[in-house]
């Protein structure tokens, strides 16, 4: 599957052994274990490792490619999670983004669907249309950083030169672009959501809370309306939090610092802005820019009225639920759980 927490044994060619625990927060290395002088400990260790299941080795059974569905919670209008579970189908072959890494967030985004929406109907669920090809080939995006093909030949051309000849190539380019767009449309029809999987730092505000609040602002603000993704479902899997091993080993004074947990967020599917060009790109870009204008500090700037701005933490409206659900930020210095704004 796409996520794992890798843990391994590291040995040197002598009678010494160290145990390294590697997760998204970092590496924990044991003190030296002597193969002979600590033989009972080594034997116990081997017996323990022998009994490790997939989960102990870092597998996440909820996210296996065979299962392809997971139970998440609906995100309500007030930014909290509903109690009912919703089955979300995910499609690992429909990769949208992959930020592979051993440490950190390691964000992966893949296509998803619920089987509840009207888009395309149930018959199309989980399947990419014929034009979209099969699996990961459906609408792959490749970024060529050291391209010798497209750019290098024309590196020395001036804009005036390059403007010439655009028209000649335009027709075939447009045809290719249209075919690609149709393929992408098919994919979006079949998988109209994306599942974002990542290891979030627990001291940060949860992403779905910020997004829901931005959506609320967008109801009355045209600079935000339509320019923030819709968050649908989410869940934190605390059982995979990096804090457990550190709590057990009593390694951290500050229990929040650095802790990461597995977070799944489902949003509506968007299209990459590089698919646009010319005026469409220009307009969409400045819409994003002006949307960002309103996510600024509310108090100190006459530019932004309190209605339009994301609130400072201490002014958080209690109806938004920090008091009603267990929130990571409650444990931060200076923040008192249940305190009035």
């Amino acid at each position: 599957m796409l996520l794992w927490s890798s843990r391994n044994l590291r040995s040197l060619p002598d009678d010494s052994l160290w145990i390294s625990w590697v997760d998204r927060e970092g590496v924990i290395v044991s003190t030296r274990i002597g193969l002979f002088e600590d033989l009972p400990l080594v034997l116990v260790l081997l017996l323990v490792l022998q009994r490790f299941g997939c989960r102990q080795w870092g597998d996440i059974p909820e996210l296996t490619s065979e299962k392809r569905s997971i139970l998440l919670h609906s995100v309500t209008d007030d930014g909290t999670l509903g109690t009912e579970e919703v089955n979300v189908e995910f499609h690992p072959e429909d990769k949208v983004h992959s930020g592979w890494s051993l440490f950190g967030r390691a964000t992966t985004v893949i296509g998803a669907s619920t089987g509840m929406k009207g888009n395309g109907g149930p018959a199309e669920e989980g399947r990419i249309g014929a034009r979209g090809g099969v699996g990961g080939d459906a609408a792959e995006t490749m970024v060529d950083g050291d391209s010798e093909g497209l750019e290098t030949d024309e590196t020395n051309l001036s804009p005036r030169d390059t403007a010439r000849g655009e028209g000649e190539e335009q027709s075939s380019l447009d045809q290719a672009r249209d075919a690609y767009r149709r393929a992408r449309d098919d994919i979006i029809k079949a998988h109209d959501l994306v599942l974002k999987i990542y290891w979030a730092e627990t001291w940060r505000i949860r992403e779905w809370e910020i997004m829901t609040y931005a959506q609320t602002l967008g109801k009355t603000d045209k600079f935000i309306r339509g320019h923030v993704p819709e968050v649908k479902y989410a869940r934190d899997f605390d059982r995979y939090s990096t804090r457990h091993i550190r709590d057990f080993l009593n390694l951290q004074d500050n229990k929040q610092a650095g802790t990461r947990t597995l977070r799944l967020v489902v949003m509506n599917r968007l299209r990459p802005i590089h698919d646009l060009r010319g005026e469409q790109l220009w307009d969409a870009f400045w819409e994003c820019f002006t949307c960002r204008c309103f996510f600024v500090q509310p108090d100190d700037h006459p530019l932004i009225g309190s209605v339009r701005s994301l609130p400072a933490l201490g002014q958080w409206n209690p109806s938004w639920g920090y008091q009603s659900q267990q929130s990571d930020v409650q444990h931060l210095p200076g923040w008192k759980s249940g305190g009035s704004p």
Binding site: R131, G132, G133, D137, A139, T141, M142, V143, G145, D146, S147, L150, E151, T155, S158, P159, T162, A163, E166, A176, R177, A179, Y180, E201, W203, R204, I205, I210, F223, G226, H227, P229, A257, R263, N268, L270, R271, P272, I273, H274, L276, R277, G278, L281, A284, F285, W286, F289, C291, R292, C293, F294, V296, Q297, D300, L303, L310, A312, L313, P333
Partner: protein, 195 residues
């Protein structure tokens, strides 16, 4: 990212909020968040370990580096896949070493459209993008000079000033797209007649 509205219009969507935070939030780590290739000049300068307060202008500047990149890349459609080719000039932005990233951004005002081609459908915005680039480079120059002169006064966040500066910048030009952006920013800043 963008979405297609029910009316069929492409609408820009600001995405990825997992590193967003509330203002005045007492951060507990010293990580520099952001995307290095598009990071603002003074955040790049001196490395990632510097404790520079994050300001609105940093994000506003990053938008311009993104715009310069987006208008310079070439896209090739092959069947059901898309291949994005960035001009080699931008490779420096994607290396681990921050200094070439910093210096290439400083020089982008000169090189944008000269060291690499701008696709014809974006050529109409070439002067605009150059001016925007120059705007941030000049700001970085003035900050650099202030620091060199021994100024240690902490900078205060001034989104309104940033927007007004951009309005003046785009308002002074007649290129296509400027009027629309100017109107949008003027409405956003809610200070008519600034220009």
């Amino acid at each position: 990212m963008y979405n297609i509205s029910p009316a069929g219009k492409a609408e820009g969507v600001l995405n990825d909020y997992d590193l967003a935070s509330w203002d005045k939030f007492p951060t507990t780590n010293s990580d520099r968040t952001g995307t290095v290739p598009f990071m603002a000049l003074d955040l790049l300068h001196g490395g990632l370990d510097q404790q520079i307060p994050r300001l609105y202008r940093h994000d506003a500047e990053s938008f311009v580096w993104v715009l310069a990149y987006l208008t310079a890349i070439a896209i090739e459609y092959k069947g059901h896949s898309v291949k994005i080719s960035r001009p080699p000039y931008f490779n420096l932005w994607f290396k681990d070493d921050l200094q070439p990233n910093y210096t290439s951004k400083l020089a982008l005002y000169i090189n944008y459209g000269r060291a690499f081609r701008i696709p014809g459908y974006h050529a109409q915005y070439l002067t605009t993008v150059r001016k925007l680039i120059n705007h941030w480079v000049e700001l970085d120059n003035s900050l650099f000079d202030m620091k060199a002169a021994g100024s240690t006064e902490p900078e205060t966040d001034d989104p309104k000033g940033i927007l007004e500066g951009l309005i003046k910048l785009v308002g002074a030009d007649s290129q296509k797209g400027f009027a629309k952006v100017q109107a949008l920013l003027l409405e956003a800043v809610e200070v008519p007649g600034v220009v």
